[in-house]
Each structure stands twice: as structure tokens, then as C-alpha cells.
Symmetry: C2
Subunit: 453 residues, 2 copies
């Protein structure tokens, strides 16, 4: 039998991240200062982010950014992650397609988020910053940053979306085990939170709101910076380590993917798995399809507008050119908490606009059905977020079967679901629904966008 | 920098398990039929276990038992597991000791239990058995067997110790995701359960009780067999894959352990990590210390009696010669649910009696303190069971520091704690205690043993 897992050694951990912007003919439009509406410069971002991260955010010329040795060293705690040939799933689907997944769930916090958390904590520490803040949706990012902040000796405050704070109490405990402070958002600890609670006391929170709170705290705390787990260019940059490893591993398997799939919230794991493959297409090399799988309840890529919008609920962040449902869109309380974000990162948005990537929206019930098939055939219970990618991969494999042709499919298993079993319980109990949106609902939330710039 | 993880390839998965009994000068005393009190034969065990498992249970001559190819194939889903040099923990302890751990937590169900679950389900399937039953304490074994039963297409009923059923609801959900039926034990579904509930309606269950129920169901269901996740010889046999891999990996690291440590419940992970190293000592090779770390609330190896005793609460099982606290000992509700068992496997008991292995008992609060130090220094949140081994390893490392000498320590990280965060929460909230036993309590529970044979 062939190997199931295609493994690299610690020496094979990439030495640079891939900055796709350098290869894009149409660069993303610049982020704008929310007050002046002028293109941002590094100095505008420095009060919020560590300087090196601000530089990476606006770097559109350097194709490769060297990974500092202390980051590579900490990556060795779990990287390189395995690439797995999904023989069990192929058999269950009776498909001629070859299905591979990159297994980021082997990270000690259970998801890919650690790849950027380690980098961000490192650059903050190097600059002498002592305190950091962040937001978290499902808790995956918060857990990862807690791990990294603890390692580098930084104090961390995490604003956790209220719905997840209650649905996923154990992710909160994980953050606390690593020593982080966790606050349910919206909270009364910030102006932004108090305003939202006053207007809507029962609001269960969103990533947009939690970002407002975390940014506000960072700006009002000495020697403190904010960090973000998705959406931004520097986060996508760090996550390219996923695809760079996967590229080597596909080569070892003697195959090249026809399609690469990632679930889509703000874009971090999708960018991570796809950008290194897309670089060949951008530079005239091999063609490939890239598919973002987003929830039908939060369909910014498939049904949103491409406009300048705020990254947060209240409007503290720069204006970003992106596919968005509007910064005050309140997504339904689906269990894939990490995908409940109103906008797509600016790089992905530009690539989508230019036809380089595709998007599909997936209904919540379909994702759980796909997750259980995957658990039974491959043995790993996936995170509800990752199940969106699994569903899309299954569709691709079934299409290949219908067409009777071989196809090579690669998707990113961004995390496992062992801390999400309450969500599975609710699915088994028939308590979940799809939360699809009507055209009126979409129009209502996006209509205000034209007035922003 | 050196590699942190020492990795083997799928081809390096051992082709045989190691049967230590073949190398023991003093073989364990024979298990006795509970009715006739005569030594058991394979035919006595066949109504309960698959025939091949019954043969393995009583095999005291074959040193190596070949691993069937379909089992090795399924092992590839997560094996070989990494051996990790715990640089972070060494630094935190400022010790000259080199600390290694075998990371069994990377299995898709989060623990080493899958190693035997896969083997047992396979042999049942091969024999044409359609239904299996089992018990589970913390849920680790039940989750593993659910995974394996699903893979081989067997129907599975799991009796889960009531305290864990409530403390660890997500382990239950994991079993259900793989398609198993889960019943809280003691239950009203068996005579054994009804008897116990009648006598003590608030009893929170124990492994001994759950075993009685699972065996009873197996004996009363057509084409059904019982399976067990620890204690028995064939389980220890399957788990030796841990130590066989670790031995190769230590060789790759250029070191040989001075001491090997495993937490101790019934013996499965302890036997697994230690027996392959002990084989050299038994056959006149290199000396080595082997340490079993058991809970102070359930100290059979350190404070129990070596006597014939039943494996279960009610007395359905054969009489086994072992260190025991008495089959009706009701252990305190500690969070290391997998270690709440009254007896030690017969092989380990004989080895302990003959001075080949040592045992230490560890207080619950000390295990959580060790767990948090491990989480912060190595990044992995350990299962409460595994934290007993971590505590013992830390003590060895601190002793090395005190004595100012190098020492190589290997322990088994039998599982991660991501599904045990409720236990960590209770520790943080100061709700846990040590549940140490007085000499009177020990005497009271072991005094009846002398009358059994």
C-alpha cells in the first residue's frame, strides 16, 4: 500500500513566507485612513500593530519574506504538518478523484491559527511590546495567540464573540490555561461594547464588534498592540507556510492539484493553502482552480459587494477594499463561529474580482453531514469551519465521478472539532438550521456601503 | 538546533507486537475460572472474547505476535507517533536531565487507546462477530473503540462510568459521532446495574461496575463479544507498539532512557511504553528503571495487596492474580477517570512483585500543577491521566538537578486534555482535592480478598 501521510522533516519547514501581492498585476486597492480617506502608510498602522507587521501589511514588492529563526524554532513544535491522502473518503464516495488534505489540526491548539499567532507574538516581543489584545470568534485564534503570547512572555487580553464564549466554553478554558484574560464581547469594558449593548442588549456579538473592542483597548493601554487572526495581508502571508509545505508534499506524491479548496471566514486558511499554488498561475505557470467555501449565512464572496468598508463594527479600522456584506451585518449564530465575518481580505477580494478564484456558499446542515461522513471515513472529527471545505471537496469528487474522470483535489483541514462537540450534539438533536439569506436581507445590509468613500 | 520531534515513516510501523510473558522467568499466576477456580483455558474465554484475543491472552511462549496487515494499514492513520524532546520543560525546570515524551495524543481520538481498539475490532470482524460491547472510564477507550468499530462495520454498545458520562459529555458525543450507543453505568439495562443502583442509588459508577454490565450484555446478545481497554494481557500486547517505536526513536536520538514512566490505571499505556525496554533487562541486557504513576486516590500498586481478585464489581470475570484494592473498592471521583480502577494487570503485578518495576502515587492537585507547567512549556494540554506521568517525570528531572547529574527520562503522553477542559476549569476554581486514603480505608477494602480463593 502507498503511504497515507506524506511527511516532511523539521528541516523542510520553509525559510520564507510567500507575499503574493508582489506577483499580482492588479495590486489590491490601498487601505484608506478612516478620517482622511488617504492611503495608509506604515506610520498610520504603527499605533495599532507592531512595526514589522505594519510593514508586512503594506509590502507589495518583496516576493519572499524571511521567517525569523525563533519563529521556525517554535513552528517545530507541530510543523511540518502531514499531507494526507484521503483513501477512506475516496472509497466512501466511490470516486475516481484523488483527494488530499493538509492536516493543520495536529497543531497543539487544534488549528492552523498558530502559524500567524507565533509570528505576531514574536514581532511584538522583539519590539519590546509587553501587552497585546485580540478578538476571537470560535476561539481558535484566541487559543493560538494565548499559546504564542505565553511562549514569548506577553500579557494578552482576548475579546471572545459572546455566542462562542457560551457555545464553546472549553476554548475559553484553553486560553486561560495558557494564562490569557478572556472577555465576552460585546462587553462593558470599552466604549464600543457599551454602545452596542445599550442599543441591543441581547446581541450575541460578532467578530466585527470584538475587533472594535480589542482595538480600543490596545489604543488605550501603554505599550500595547492589537493583533488579528485573519483578513489582513500579513496574516495571509504567515499562513502561506501551509501551502508551501503542501506544494512540496504534493510533489512527493507525484501529483499536482486540479483544485485547491479552503473554508472562508476572513481568508487566513484559504490564503494559506491556495496562494503558493496560485503563484504559478499568476506568473504564467500551471493553471489551477481555487475554491473558497463560505457559509450560506455569511456569503460575502458569493453575494456581497466589492466596496470600501470598515473591518470592524464601529468603524475604528482603516477602510478596506473588499467583498463585504456591510460592517454592521449581524451573521446568524451558526456553529462555524470562525466564519462569521462580514468581509473578505483585500488580496482575496482583488483576486476574486479578477477571476483568479471561485467561491461557493454552503448550508450549515450540509456541512455537518459532510463532517460526519469525513469522521467515519477518515477518522478525524473536523471543526465546523473546516467542514465547509470538506463539503466543497466532496462536491468536486462527486462531479469527477459523474464525469468519469480523474481529478486531484486538495483541501485544507484547518482544525479538528474535538472542542466543538456541543455543536455536533445540537446537530444530532435536530436543532440546527441553514440560515440562508434573502436578496432583501443582503440588499438591506450592503446598501449603505456606497456612502462610505 | 536539534530536531524537537523524532519521526519514523509509515514503513517503520512495527510488524509484530512484543509478548513480554515469553521472556518472564516467573510467569504470572494463571487466571482462574470464577466457578471452578481452575486455571482458565482458551475455551473458557471464547464466549467472552474473540478467539484470537483469547489465545493472545493466554499465550506465554511466543515472544513476537505478527500484526495483521489491515491493522497496520489502519495504524497508518496516525502512526508512527512522534517522540518529542521536551526542551521547553527542561528549560522551565532548569534541569540537566534530557526529557523525552512519546506523543500518543496525536491519534484522531486523542489517546493511545486506539492501538488496541483497532486490533480488537479487527479480530472480532475476522471471526464474523457483528456486535461488541465495552466499558469506558474517562471515555478515551470508548471513543477509540467507536472509531475502530465504525471502521470495521461492527455495532457497539459502550457502558460509560456515570461520573465521566456527566463530567465528559463531549467524549460521549465523539462516540456517538462514530455511531456507537452509549449508556451511563450503572444502568437499569443489566442485572448487575440494577443490583448496584438498588443498593446505592447515588453511586457514580466505576470501571469495575461498567465491566460487569458490558460482560453481561455480551453474554446475552447473539453473535456478540466483550472487549476491554486495559488490564488484560492482550491489551498490553497491542500497546507495546508504543514502546517498540519509542525504542527506535531513542536510538535515532542517540540516547537510551535511564527511566521510563507511564501513568497507571489498569496498565495499558504503562505496559505499552515500558515492556519493550524491559525486555532487554529481562534477557540480561541493559538495566533501566520503570515507574508506574498512579493516583493517590486509587493506589493499588503502592498500597494494594497481591491476591486473586475479580476484574469487575460483581464477580463475572475470571479471578486474576494482581495488586488490588478489592473489586468493590469505590474510587473517589477524581478527574483522571481512566485511572479509577481497583486492580493492576497480572503481568505488571508479577513484575512489580519481582522487583522489575517501581510505582509512585501522585496527588490530584499535583497532577494539575504539573499539567499546567507542561502546557505552558511544551504547548500541549495533557489529559488528566497523562499528567500523572508528567508529574513523575518532573520529579525525576528535579532529582537529577539536585544531584547535578545528567539523566535521560522518557514518559508516555498517553493523551491530550482538549476534551477535559471542564476538569481544568474546576481546578482553576479551587474545587478539586486530593482524596488520599487512610490506612483504615485501605484495610477495609482489601480485607475480604483472602476469602476469594
Amino acid at each position: 500500500m502507498m503511504n497515507k501521510k506524506i511527511l516532511l522533516s523539521e528541516n523542510d519547514i520553509p525559510r520564507s513566507w510567500y507575499n503574493i501581492v508582489a506577483d499580482m498585476k492588479n495590486k489590491p486597492l490601498p487601505p484608506l485612513h478612516p478620517g482622511t480617506k488617504k492611503p495608509l502608510e506604515v506610520s498610520d498602522l504603527e499605533p495599532i500593530f507592531a512595526t514589522e507587521l505594519a510593514r508586512q501589511e503594506l509590502n507589495d514588492t518583496d516576493r519572499w519574506i524571511e521567517i525569523p529563526e525563533p519563529i521556525r524554532e517554535l513552528y517545530k513544535n507541530y510543523r511540518p504538518t502531514p499531507l494526507v491522502r484521503a483513501y477512506g473518503l475516496e472509497k466512501a464516495l466511490d470516486t475516481p478523484a484523488h483527494i488530499y488534505f493538509k492536516n493543520e489540526s495536529v497543531s497543539p491548539v487544534g488549528s492552523h491559527k498558530l502559524n500567524s499567532a507565533i509570528a505576531q507574538a514574536y514581532y511584538c516581543k522583539e519590539q519590546g511590546i509587553t501587552n497585546i489584545t485580540t478578538e476571537t470568534g470560535a476561539g481558535q485564534w484566541g487559543a493560538a495567540l494565548s499559546y504564542a503570547a505565553n511562549h514569548f512572555g506577553l500579557d494578552l487580553a482576548v475579546y471572545m464573540v459572546k455566542i462562542s464564549y457560551h457555545q464553546k466554553p472549553y476554548r475559553r478554558s484553553i486560553m486561560q490555561t495558557y494564562g490569557a484574560e478572556v472577555i465576552a464581547s460585546p462587553s462593558m469594558s470599552t466604549k464600543a461594547g457599551r454602545k452596542i449593548i445599550t442599543e441591543n442588549p441581547n446581541y450575541q456579538g460578532s467578530l466585527g464588534t470584538a475587533i472594535s473592542e480589542a482595538v480600543e483597548l490596545a489604543l488605550n493601554t501603554p505599550n500595547c498592540r492589537y493583533t488579528l487572526g485573519s483578513v489582513l495581508n500579513h496574516v495571509s502571508l504567515h499562513q502561506t507556510i501551509i501551502g508551501l509545505e503542501a506544494e512540496k508534499q504534493m510533489e512527493m506524491a507525484g501529483e499536482y492539484p486540479d483544485v485547491v479548496i479552503g473554508c472562508f471566514g476572513g481568508g487566513s486558511n484559504f490564503s494559506g493553502i491556495t496562494f503558493p499554488f496560485l503563484r504559478h498561475k499568476l506568473t504564467g505557470g500551471k493553471d489551477i482552480r481555487l475554491v473558497a467555501a463560505e457559509p450560506a449565512s455569511c456569503p460575502k464572496l458569493t453575494r456581497g459587494k466589492f466596496e470600501y468598508d470598515f473591518g470592524d463594527e464601529v468603524g475604528y479600522t482603516p477602510l478596506l477594499p473588499m467583498y463585504t456584506l456591510g460592517h454592521n451585518f449581524a451573521p446568524a449564530n451558526i456553529h462555524a463561529g470562525g466564519l462569521r465575518y462580514h468581509g473578505a481580505g483585500t488580496i482575496v477580494s482583488q483576486l476574486k474580482k479578477d477571476g483568479y478564484i471561485e467561491a461557493v456558499d454552503v448550508k450549515q446542515l450540509d456541512t455537518f453531514e459532510a463532517a460526519i461522513l469525513f469522521a467515519k471515513s477518515e477518522g478525524i472529527i473536523p471543526a465546523p469551519e473546516s467542514s465547509h471545505a470538506i463539503y466543497a471537496a466532496i462536491q468536486e469528487a462527486l462531479k469527477a465521478k459523474e464525469e468519469g474522470r480523474q481529478k486531484t483535489i486538495l483541501f485544507n483541514l484547518s482544525g479538528h472539532g474535538l472542542i466543538d462537540m456541543a455543536s455536533y450534539d445540537r446537530y444530532f438533536d435536530g436543532e440546527l438550521s441553514n440560515h440562508e439569506l434573502s436578496d432583501e436581507e443582503i440588499a438591506k445590509t450592503t446598501d449603505m456601503l456606497e456612502k462610505l468613500v
